[in-house]
């Protein structure tokens, strides 16, 4: 059996295990063990993948399996991975693993919580291993049910509003995708007359230019909504602020990356000419995203909103890097997906932990937390530094590659856009350092806070697993960089590379 199937099988078994568990403690243990196995599987898959590559296999996708599903419309269940998806799978399993421990203390409807959370993750895993566009879309949509319930039931603040807004906006995004999906399916001329959803088969033929021009915006915006592209980002601050910790982690950390991944793997790969033609429109939008998100974060008083706006900014950078259409910038963009995924998950985990102690997320009400909870404080500081791109942590490598690639364009338009995007780094530094200054350093504002305790063992597992990954990528990025670089090749070759 293909090892990739385990990525779907383990969560399903875990969910079954949770469903039959009797006690609260059993539920979370089953969840933790299941997601630990998932993490191990992801690491094994990564090594298997690298082993295959080392043995000289140059296929675009490896570890492929193909099962026919609907013969009439030629839908297959086709799975396989390349370097990009292998990295994304690892990212997802780290975040889910950390998310389980971050929600160790969930007590309201605990069983349902973990089932929904793991189902949400299953959709993401399925998305990354799919090669058939139909199954890919199916997995993508699978996230809708659990997402709504997770935010609506276990969220905080205006959760009903946020849950509905997030669900409807993302559904609207996938509505655009449906149009693009069938456009691609019916209008990409197949060699043997049989239409196909298979990504690799589709990439061998190209759509006519008018069709590309029509469908590219659908595909791009469809995924762009998920990637929080300005002006379709408004679900993100509300949704992420209201969601329970683990969902914010998973959503900002991984689900938003599906947007960038889809833009790259589907929109730009299958409609390269339209991508080149229309890139300027979206470059304007993404550089606005980057700047807007950063400035938005400055004005926020709630920790989660700060992080949500900062996600808009960073995810804007992902799409910005992709649109630069050269290998360096694209590689940086994908590194940024992984780096930001880990970083933002770490942030949301920490915010959840702080909130569970202080019962507030308003920065001005807190202060001097470093003194009472040194572990959480230090980790928060490191995460902050990674976010503003300090060398030695993951953010630096990613952002440097993006800007390095972007500067290879020497025309005025790209220069201006790049400089705009780069200037966001300064703004990022402002809001990160401001939060760190008020929240962690400074005097303790509330006497009661002196009694607060530092991280518990499960919180340490949650944060350390993310922190190790962030630092690991920062210190030794080469293997990841190279692995992604190899896999970008076939896609970049179709785009017009400057």
């Amino acid at each position: 059996m293909n090892i990739l199937n385990l990525l779907i099988l383990i969560p399903i078994l875990t969910v079954t295990g949770i469903a039959v568990s009797k006690s609260m403690d059993a539920v979370r243990k089953v969840a933790a063990i299941g997601m630990f196995l998932q993490l191990i599987t992801s690491i094994v898959i990564l090594f298997v993948y690298m082993g295959i590559r080392k043995s000289g296999v140059t296929d675009e996708m490896v570890l492929m399996s193909d099962y026919t599903w609907f013969t009439t419309i030629n839908i297959h269940y086709t799975i396989g991975i390349d370097g990009i998806s292998a990295a994304m799978i690892l990212l997802t399993s780290i975040v889910v693993f950390a998310g389980i421990f971050a929600s160790w203390e969930v007590s309201n409807l605990q069983k349902e919580f973990f089932i929904s959370l793991i189902l949400l993750a299953t959709g993401v895993f399925g998305f990354f291993i799919s090669i058939d566009l139909f199954t890919m879309f199916l997995y993508y949509e699978l996230a809708v049910i659990p997402m709504y319930l997770l935010i609506g039931i276990w969220g905080t603040g205006p959760k009903e509003y946020s849950a509905m807004k997030l669900t409807i906006m993302l559904m609207a995004g996938s509505a655009l995708l449906i149009v693009a999906l069938f456009g691609i399916y019916y209008l990409t001329g197949p060699a043997d007359g049989q239409h196909t959803f298979n990504l690799l088969e589709l990439a061998k033929n190209t759509m006519s230019l008018p069709a590309q021009r029509f469908f590219f915006p659908f595909a791009f915006l469809g995924f762009g909504v998920l990637g929080a592209l300005f002006p379709f980002h408004t679900w993100s601050p509300d949704g992420h602020a209201s969601a329970p910790t683990a969902v914010s982690m998973l959503h900002a950390g991984v689900l938003m990356k599906l947007g960038g991944y889809g833009i790259f793997r589907i929109a730009m790969y299958l409609m390269p000419q339209a991508a080149a033609e229309q890139a300027w429109i979206f470059i304007i939008l993404t550089s606005t995203s980057v700047i807007y998100g950063a400035f938005g974060a400055i004005w926020q008083k709630d920790l989660k909103y700060i992080n949500a706006y900062s996600s808009v900014s960073h995810c804007g950078l992902v799409i910005f890097g992709l649109l630069m259409m050269n290998k360096t910038a694209m590689d940086g963009a994908i590194l940024q997906m992984i780096s930001h995924g880990l970083m933002t998950a770490l942030f949301f985990a920490l915010i959840g932990m702080i909130y569970s102690r202080t019962h507030t997320r308003i920065i001005s009400e807190m202060g001097g937390l470093m003194k009472v909870m040194p572990f959480l404080g230090v980790v928060y500081l490191i995460a902050g530094l990674a976010s503003l791109g300090l060398p030695g942590l993951s953010g630096f490598v990613a952002e440097m590659s993006i800007f390095f690639g972007a500067f290879q364009h020497d025309d005025m338009f790209h220069r201006v856009a790049t400089i705009m995007a780069i200037s966001a780094i300064v703004v990022t530094a402002v809001y990160i350092l401001r939060v760190v200054g008020i929240l962690l350093l400074g005097p303790i504002k509330n006497e009661e806070y002196k009694l607060l305790t530092d991280a518990t063992w499960y919180e340490k597992i949650s944060t350390l697993s993310l922190l190790i990954a962030v630092a690991g990528i920062g210190i030794y990025p080469t293997w990841l960089y190279n692995m992604i670089y190899e896999s970008i090749g076939p896609i970049a070759a179709k785009l017009i590379v400057y």
């Binding site: 839908i75 849950a163 409807i168 149009v179 399916y185």
Partner: protein, 473 residues
């Protein structure tokens, strides 16, 4: 004409037999002991469904007026399944104190209406179609007024009979125009003689209008919400699934087989109708507080989606329409069964009554959620496949703009399908509906529906089968 030909109509004959058997039991059983009736009706329905599925007939009788083949057999099977589930879910309601003396009537009337639908589907000419349609509709009007001591139920009966009288008149008017220009009422002959001149096209449009009433397409939908709300829930679910399904089957079939020459015209009409139907149905559903009215408008919107499948034309269109309706049968009946269970136990039918339902009745809540997500077209349940295949069928003919409008509508529909979910799972209530146990029949009915929702999509064999029986259109 010999005995063998008569056996082609085995399905209709068996249904007639079942109606007679129930009638005899009614006559010969004592007044206050009619416990036999429900199991008997359910069992005969099951038997009929099995016989007609496993021993399909194929051929023509009565000078081609009656036709039977695998395609029509598949349509009838879908209706059989739907009726079976309706029977199962009606148990609690027919056994209520006030209905106990007329249990058998319910089943006899449903059987006769189903006979009508079967004749309609099997018709080879417009006269047969008309007869079947009438036989199908008039009994339902009686059913709608079944709770005759309730004002709303009586009103529903009157509304249904009046609006179907009007629609039938329009339909007949249209058919007479077609007869006038083509000189025949037989499908094959009409097809050969049909020319898209003004009078013929007008006749065809009248035909579409008449059928539009039955399928409650906008702007012919005004009776729907009131009738659905007033009728007993079992009747409402029968109306929204079986009656609508039968009309949609024969509508699609006639458009494909009788009017292929005028396809450009009816395609345009359908595009407009479907856009209006989806949009109006969706927008009105948002504001509904009563679950039955809510499901009524949702079913209007679903009919709009169904029309999109017809745009696919030919084998793909027909197969997809049947598949969508099969999925719709399971989905809508699951939703109605939950509504019926709650209504039987507590008499409550408003969405606000559902607040906090998950805490007290988790299983019912989960099933209703599953059904609503299937209606909204969210994977992995069957509704997703049903809807995507409709979209696929339509996109195969290049209707991308219409597709765009449809997916926007699907997004709007998700909003209101989430409202009951929010009520059940998120809203808090001081006095939620108490925990109650449903009767075994309803549980079986719900079980069939839920298994259908979960499996029809994922197991590709169902779709493949329906596409294969639609070959040659």
């Amino acid at each position: 004409m010999n005995f063998q030909d008569l056996l082609l109509m085995q399905h209709e004959l068996l249904l007639t037999l079942a109606a007679l058997v129930v009638l005899c039991v009614e006559i010969f059983s004592p007044e206050n002991n009619k416990r036999m009736v429900v199991p008997l009706a359910v069992f005969s329905m099951l038997l009929i469904a099995a016989v007609s599925f496993f021993f399909p007939t194929s051929g023509k009788a009565f000078g081609d007026m009656y036709q039977s083949d695998t395609l029509r057999g598949a349509m009838k099977s879908v209706l059989d399944i739907a009726t079976l589930i309706v029977f199962l879910q009606s148990y609690g309601w027919v056994n209520k104190e006030e209905n106990r003396n007329k249990i058998s009537e319910f089943f006899i009337i449903i059987f006769s209406s189903l006979i009508g639908m079967n004749f309609m589907i099997s018709s080879g000419d417009f006269l047969m179609l008309y007869l079947g349609l009438e036989l199908a509709t008039i009994p339902i009007a009686a059913l709608a007024a079944f709770d005759r001591y309730k004002m709303k139920s009586a009103e529903a009966g009157i509304k249904l009979i009046l609006s179907s009288a009007l629609s039938t008149a329009i339909l007949l008017y249209g058919l007479s125009m077609i007869y006038a220009t083509t000189g025949s009422i037989y499908f094959d002959e009409v097809r050969a003689a049909f020319k898209p001149d003004a009078l013929s096209v007008l006749g065809m449009i009248f035909f579409i209008t008449g059928m539009g009433f039955k399928m409650s397409l906008v702007p012919f939908h005004l009776w729907t919400a009131d009738v659905y709300e007033g009728s007993p829930i079992a009747v409402t679910s029968y109306l929204s699934v079986v009656s609508k399904g039968a009309a949609a089957f024969i509508f699609t079939f006639v458009l494909y087989t009788v009017f292929p020459i005028a396809s450009e015209i009816w395609l345009q009409v359908l595009v407009v109708l479907s856009i209006v139907t989806m949009t109006i149905g969706n927008l009105f559903a948002i504001r509904q507080g009563n679950m039955k009215r809510f499901l009524a408008f949702s079913s209007i919107a679903q009919a709009g989606f169904l029309l999109l499948g017809i745009l696919g034309q030919g084998q793909l269109g027909m197969g997809t329409v049947i598949f969508f309706l099969l999925v719709y049968v399971f989905t809508n009946l699951a939703a109605f069964s939950v509504v019926a269970a709650i209504s039987d136990a507590t008499g409550k039918e408003d969405m606000t009554d559902y607040n906090g339902l998950y805490k007290t009745n988790p299983n019912l809540s989960l099933m209703l959620m599953l059904a609503l997500f299937s209606l909204a077209g969210i994977p992995p349940v069957a509704g997703f496949f049903g809807k995507l295949f409709l979209f696929s069928a339509m996109a195969s003919k290049g209707y991308y703009i219409v597709l765009f409008i449809a997916v926007i509508n699907a997004t709007i529909s998700l909003y209101y399908y989430l409202l009951p979910v929010r009520a059940m799972f998120i809203n808090k209530s001081d006095n939620p509906i108490e925990h109650f146990k449903s009767n075994i029949y309803l549980k079986i009915g719900l079980g069939i529906s839920v298994v259908g929702i979960l499996l029809t999509g994922v197991f590709s064999i169902v779709y493949e089968y329906l596409i294969s029986v639609s070959a040659g259109l």
